[in-house]
């Protein structure tokens, strides 16, 4: 602030054109520029260049690794698809086999059951036939006896032969 009184005459002009200060400014500027140059070129710039190169390297490596992983993932997906298809095929084969086996078992059982049913039916038929026969026999007996009794009651002498023949003829009729 003390220089402001002396600077009163300068205030009209430009301090930039005060040539007496030029050597001073130039001297200190050159020193400052040299200092900045050495600070930048010796310390800062190699450091930043190294960091940038390292970063670039890291990024490149990471990208390559990512690409590799992507390929691996695609491969894994393929393998998975294949395994899935195999498993499906196997499963359907197993299902088909099981079905065939069950069908075979079923056929055997059915045949057995059919045979059994047929045997039972034949037996039952025989039994029914026997029953029918015996029933017819009994009916004949009863009819003969009844006919003899009727003839006797009516006062005739029942001829066993004719009665039997008549009953048989009736039964057939």
């Amino acid at each position: 602030m003390a220089t402001e009184t002396t600077g009163g005459t300068e205030a009209a002009g430009m301090p930039q054109l005060e040539f007496s200060t030029f050597p001073n400014q130039i001297f200190w500027l050159v020193i400052a520029l040299i200092a900045i140059y050495f600070i930048l070129s010796r310390i800062a710039m190699p450091r930043i260049a190294a960091v940038l190169a390292e970063r670039q390297g890291t990024i490149t490596n990471d990208l390559a690794a990512a690409e590799e992983l992507k390929l691996k993932a695609v491969e894994a997906e393929k393998a998975y698809e294949k395994a899935l298809a195999d498993a499906r095929a196997e499963a359907s084969q197993i299902v088909a086999e099981a079905k065939a086996e069950i069908q075979a078992d079923l056929d055997v059982e059915l045949q057995k059951a059919d045979a059994e049913i047929a045997a039972k039916a034949a037996e039952s038929e025989k039994a029914i036939a026997a029953i029918r026969e015996s029933a017819a026999e009994s009916v004949k007996e009863v009819a003969k006896d009844t006919a003899k009794e009727l003839v006797a009651v009516l006062g005739g002498k029942a001829d066993a032969k004719t009665v039997t023949a008549a009953v048989n003829a009736r039964m057939k009729g």
């Binding site: 430009m14 930039q16 200060t21 030029f22 200190w28 900045i36 600070i39 800062a44 930043i48």
Partner: protein
Amino acid sequence: MADEAKGGIEIHPMDQFIVKPLFGDGAINWYTPTNVTLWLFFAVVAVTLLMVVGTRGRAIVPSRSQSVGEMAYGFVYKMVEDVAGKEGLKYFPYIFTLFMYILLANFLGLIPMSFTTTSHIAVTAVLAGAVFITVTVLGFVKNGAGFLSLFWVSSAPLVLRPILAIIELISYFVRPVSHSIRLAGNVMAGHAVLKVFAGFAASLGVFSFIPIFGIVAIYALEVLVSAIQAYVFTILTCVYLKDALHPHH
């Protein structure tokens, strides 16, 4: 500065640019530590803080300050590569030094009550002059007399070529002048306008809020100008370097 304004509207927008000795009141010799020295020192400190202390982590995933340092590095590196080509990358450290100095000096100058080294013609003339001399010498060393083909526009009709050569020659020698005055002029004008508005604010009393809004707006503009002028200075350096490396049109 506020004391002066009380005496009426007496604004000294240029006082902020006066070079003063740091100690005492004597004459300014070439070695005298001045406010220029102090703020140049701060610029060196700022560069160190950002580019050395900020990047000390060397992290793959950068911290905030490391990120900013890397961004500045990458920005200038790409600029040199795009404009001057692969051969220009040899000169990247010099160009990066220029860029970091101008950028941080501009930003430091925006601190209130600070001194803006880049507002001085002496400073920017040294920068632009160094670029001009380096590029010219480099052009002749790399291309020999072939560097003169920069001034001989072979795509133009033969009759026009001598006239164009004169124009090209003049424009070539005007380069350092425009290169330096563009930077100093932009920075100086913005700071002077800020000071003028501050003077208004001091003298308007109740209505001082109007110039204060103005100051805020201009300050924002100055932040932009600080970065843009550093960018412009650097990219022009790259263009000149390209001319030196590949002078053929």
